[in-house]
Structure formats: structure tokens, C-alpha cells
Amino acid sequence: MTSAPPLDVPLHVKYIQQLDEKKDLAYHLTEHLRLNGVYWGLTALSIMGHKDALPRDAMVDYVMSCWDDEAADTLPPPPSSGAFGAHPGHDAHIHGTCSGIQILIMQDALDRVDVDRVVKFLLTLVGPDGRVEGDQFGEFDVRFSYIFVMVLSLLGRLDAMDTIYDGKGRQLVVDNIVNSMNFDGAFGSEPGAESHGAMVWVCVASLAILGELDRIDRDLLGWWLSERQLPNGGLNGRPEKLEDVCYSWWNLAALSIIGKLHWINRDKLMAFILGAQDLEGGGIADRPGDWVDVFHTVFGLAGLSLVGYPGLRDIDPLYCMPAEVTDKMGLRRDYRTLPRLEQWPQA
């Protein structure tokens, strides 16, 4: 039925293990994504059932070395807030904080961090209109709203939202997300912005975590999302744009959360992602024949897991973390994945 090669798990595990060895110029130029990269690598390994392929203690120590004690370096400094930067010496930012907390939880090491300080940092980022900023310099969009909600949920501190803006913090954040919804049922990066697959995922996942999914028109959004699949099986992020493996995750996770994952062609999508593997050096690229990176590797694997590729571990579409981890924390929501296949290609 399809000529796509099967997933080469040992090769991808090796690719991720060696990411830190090839210290070329590009490695240095991407230091601002290092902590995110560790999260991507660890999640990819976990999906493949090889979580321990990277040494745990060194990883946890590295995460802690990214802690920025002067988080929100404003004048005057906010009392006792703290968070993670992207790498030692880099400023605290909500994105690094997201990866830092996710890694610590996956490695069962949350006791290493002062959770109260992280919560304080997060709360300083919410604006009076419910927007969430990435740091004190004011960049904002719904990606940061998602991180805010998701990390608070992982820390078991969603109730902290009620402590800001006279108890209206939660409502403000939800409204800002809902106001980013467009007539097509999908979401843009901020109120007024055009719908975009990645923004759909962060908004839908935030609303699901907050138990506000009834704000979404599932049929309409499911239509928009399912139309992201192109004849070659890949998914794009916006109408009339090119396919890209990372959109497999953004769009699929959203479809899974709204229970419409079966509205796309699973086999063609699997074949597209599998075709984007580098079967010599390992890793997955944005599309077949391009250079691989760990970002597309994890989102390709996460997409494959959601649609039931055989042998992979389950992934939670709300958190992009192993379902085993979020289930144990009691965070499971009513999402739907496709049944795991026995073999690929199917007989």
C-alpha cells in the first residue's frame, strides 16, 4: 500500500544521544534553544521507549544550571520570583521555564526547584487584558498563555490564577484565548491574528486543561484542521501553505483533544512522516529530503504516536509529555488517540 520505510528507532535514539557531540557553529548559534532541545530530546526518547538513553542526573543538573535567580530583572525586582533561562547565563523566560519544569517532572526531580518562586514569576507575566508575556519585555501571544496554564497545571497550582486581578485572573486568561478564535473555528497568535495550526494547538490544549472546551465549535474547528492535510499526506499550518512534519503535532494534538483525529488519512500521514526520516544519520526533517533536527524529530514521533504507530509509547496531547507521566499525576483529560497498530506496514 505504501513504500514508506518503517521507523528506525535505534538510529533515532543514537541521533539524539549524539546531538551534544557535534559542536559546530550552528550548535553555538542555537544556545537560546538548548533547554528546549533537551526537552525535545528527552520526550522523543520517551516516546520511543528509551528514556534512559540520556543520563538522568547530568540532565537534571543541567536544568538547574539554567535557573536564573534574577528572573524578571526589573527595577525594583519583584520579590522572590525565579525561573529558567534557555542556558546558563541566559535570562529567565517563560519558554525555558516550560521546558525546565517538563524535564524535571519527567525525571521525577521537581523537588529540586522552588515551585513558589516559579509560580510568582508566571503570575507577573499576566497583563490586565489576560495576555501572557514571555518575560518582562512585553512580547506576548497565546503560546505563552498555554505555557502559563500548562506549567501551573503541572505544578498543581492552577488556583494561583485566582490570586491576581481581584480573583479574575483565570477568566481574563481564558477570555484572551477565546478572543483569539476566528470565524473558521481556529485560533491565531493573538486576538485579530490569522488562524494557524500551532496556535490552534496551544489554545485548544489550554482550554482543555482549564475545562473550558465548550468554548470551541468542534465540528467547525475539526473541519479546518482536517483540511490541513495535503494530497501528499503531510499537514500544513495555514490554508494554501506547504506541509511540514511539525504541523503533524500541532494539528493532530488539537484533533485528538476535540475527538476528531479520525478525520484525516492516517496511513498517508504516517507515510509522510516516515518518509522524512534520515535513514543514514537518524532524525526526522520538516519534509522528505531536508536536514533533520531534534525539533522535527520529536514532533514527528509524537504525531506518529498519536495516530497509533506500532511500538511507540502513548503521548498526552495536552502536555506533549508521556501519557504515563500525566496519567500518574491525575491530569488525564478526555482526548482520543487512534488505536495502536500491530505492525507497519499493515498486512
Binding site: G89, E194, W263, V292
Partner: protein, 332 residues
């Protein structure tokens, strides 16, 4: 990494590249260590600013350095500057970010820095807002250029909305929503497939229609239907126009308009019997017609039957989404 073709690299070639890169890497790491050390020492000086320039030239995504740069300006340089000098410094910042955006139009940090600069333009000269107006004028030109280069760059579209919303009341010539609408028309006419422009149009019209009478809205909607019908007939395979048409119809259309549009799309369907977008629209509008308060029982039965037939046909011609069509059809 996006859209970079993979090439086979022999171990020898990789080693040669590594050696060639060594000196570049050393220089980069030395500069980075130097700048981060100044940052830790809270050096907020002109020299430190110059060093961040060099580092950002090599790596405009190094957000920590953008942060440091803003702290140098607000904590070190602005307090010792006249308003004229601050304007000069900010002009330099904008020139720098512009050069970066030409090469990296999708790097969030550069856009953020630009907005930060604009928000820090001082009042003046004197009591006026002359400087601010001058800065915003330039922003308009820039965002047009960026959208000319890539008409779907959503950073640029967001930035355009930001510029329009941020214009000082004293800005002249005043920029009205009608001017923005004209801009989207221009973009759409040059390419019907520019969904970003159609999207912006839904936002602009949505706002302005809330402020006029239902009769006026109906008139303006008719003009929009004319425009989008042109797009649909030009390329029925392009979803941009279909999405816009669906927005125009909305959740609660007037029965006459819905009937007229249904008929017009049926005509197109006759010409293009295999256009799935056309059929999707027909199925949806039939179901919408069946839900109208004015629909008689025979109407309801007729529209539902038509929708069901189309959905069954879609299961075949748009097989990738057959489960969706099956699910929709199963309700009737």
C-alpha cells in the same frame, strides 16, 4: 530547520568544514563570553552597546542580548541623554532591526525589539508628538515592503495591525479602517489566494458592520459576495475564497441571500463537478437552509436529502476526510 535540502557529507568534508569553522566558533564564543560578562557586571555603557551589536549581527535570536541591550539603553544611556539624543539612539535601533528583518523576517525577538523602541519614543519636539508621528510613518512604509516580499508573513500582518492600532490620534494623514480595507482589496486583487488578506478583511468589516444599519450591512455584504464570487470562479480549488464566503454567510443568514448564493454555487458546481470545496459549501448551505426558521417541512426534507447526496459523493472524491463526511451524513 525549515526547508534546507539535505546533502550527503563525507566524513572528510565534514572534518574540513569543522576545521574551517574553528576560528569562527572561537571568535563567536569569545565575544559571547565577553558580552555576558559585561551583562553580569551590569555595564550599561556605549561600549557595551557596541559589543551587543557585534553579537546580534552574528546571532539575532539571542534574546538575552536583546534584553541586555534594552537595559543598557534605559538604565545607562537614556538617563544621560537629551530627548533629541534618545530619538537618535532609537533611530539607530530601528535601522539595525530593519537590516535584520530583511534577512530574518520571521524572528520574533527582532519584531519585539522594534515595538519596544517605538513605545519608548519620547514626546517632542517640545510639547508636540512630532517625533512619534515621524516614526510611525516609517513603520507603515516598512510593513508594506515586508508584505510585498511575502504576502503571507503573519508576523508582518500582526505588525501591520499593531501599527494601525498604535497610531497617535494626531497622526496625519489619518488612517481609517476604510484605508485598511482598500489595502486588503489591493492584496486580494493581486492574488485571490492570499488568505491572510481575506482574514484581515473579516476583522475590519466585522468591526465596521457593528456600527451601521442592517440595510447598509446587507448592501456592503452584497458587494463582498460579488468580490468573492469572482475569486471562486477564478480558482474553485483555492480554499481562501470558500472560507471567506462561509464567513459572509455566517450562522444566521437572510433566507433570500442564502437561496441566491446556493443557486450561484450550484451553477459553479455544474461547471466544476469535482471541486470538493464547492461541494463542501453546497452541503453546508443545504444544511443551513434546512435549519432556517422559515423552512417548510418539505424544504427541510429536500435540503437534507441534497446534503446527504453531496456528502456521500464527497466520501468518494475526498477520501482522506471520508470519516468526517460519514459522520456529518449520519446525522440525517
Amino acid at each position: 530547520m525549515h526547508g534546507v535540502k539535505r546533502t550527503r557529507v563525507s566524513p572528510e568534508a565534514a572534518e574540513a568544514k569543522r576545521i574551517k569553522e574553528q576560528s569562527k566558533i572561537q571568535a563567536y564564543v569569545a565575544l559571547q563570553d565577553d558580552v555576558l560578562a559585561s551583562k553580569r557586571a551590569k555595564e550599561y555603557t556605549v561600549e557595551a552597546l557596541g559589543k551587543t551589536n557585534q553579537l546580534l549581527d552574528l546571532n539575532p535570536e539571542f534574546y538575552t542580548i536583546w534584553n541586555y541591550r534594552r537595559n543598557i539603553l534605559t538604565r545607562g544611556l537614556f538617563p544621560e541623554s537629551t530627548p533629541e539624543e534618545i530619538v537618535g539612539l532609537l533611530t539607530g535601533e530601528l535601522r539595525m532591526t530593519m537590516a535584520y528583518l530583511r534577512v530574518h523576517p520571521k524572528v520574533y525577538w527582532i519584531w519585539t525589539h522594534r515595538m519596544w523602541c517605538l513605545e519608548n519614543v519620547p514626546l517632542g519636539p517640545g510639547e508636540s508628538k512630532g517625533w512619534r508621528n515621524e516614526f510611525w510613518k516609517t513603520e507603515f512604509m516598512i510593513v508594506e515592503k515586508l508584505l510585498d516580499a511575502d504576502a503571507r508573513n503573519f508576523h508582518a500582518w500582526s505588525y501591520r495591525r499593531y501599527v494601525v492600532e498604535s497610531l497617535p490620534a494626531s497622526f496625519s494623514p489619518a488612517r481609517s479602517p476604510a484605508d485598511e480595507l482598500k489595502y486588503t482589496s489591493k492584496k486580494i486583487e493581486s492574488n485571490f489566494s492570499n488568505f491572510s488578506a481575506w482574514h484581515y478583511r473579516t476583522k475590519l468589516l466585522g468591526k465596521s458592520w457593528a456600527e451601521i444599519t442592517p440595510e447598509e450591512v446587507a448592501d456592503e455584504k452584497d458587494q463582498e459576495f460579488e468580490l468573492v464570487t469572482q475569486a471562486l470562479w477564478t480558482d474553485p480549488g483555492d480554499q481562501s475564497g470558500w472560507l471567506y464566503h462561509r464567513w459572509l454567510i455566517g450562522h444566521n443568514p437572510s433566507p433570500q441571500v442564502l437561496a441566491r448564493e446556493l443557486e450561484s454555487i450550484q451553477e459553479l458546481h455544474k461547471e466544476e463537478p469535482d471541486s470538493k470545496w464547492c461541494m463542501n459549501a453546497l452541503a453546508h448551505y443545504h444544511l443551513l437552509s434546512a435549519r432556517l426558521a422559515s423552512a417548510s417541512e418539505t424544504d427541510v426534507t429536500k435540503h437534507r436529502a441534497e446534503a446527504k447526496t453531496i456528502l456521500e459523493r464527497l466520501e468518494v472524491i475526498d477520501e482522506d476526510r471520508k470519516e468526517r463526511y460519514r459522520e456529518l451524513a449520519s446525522h440525517y
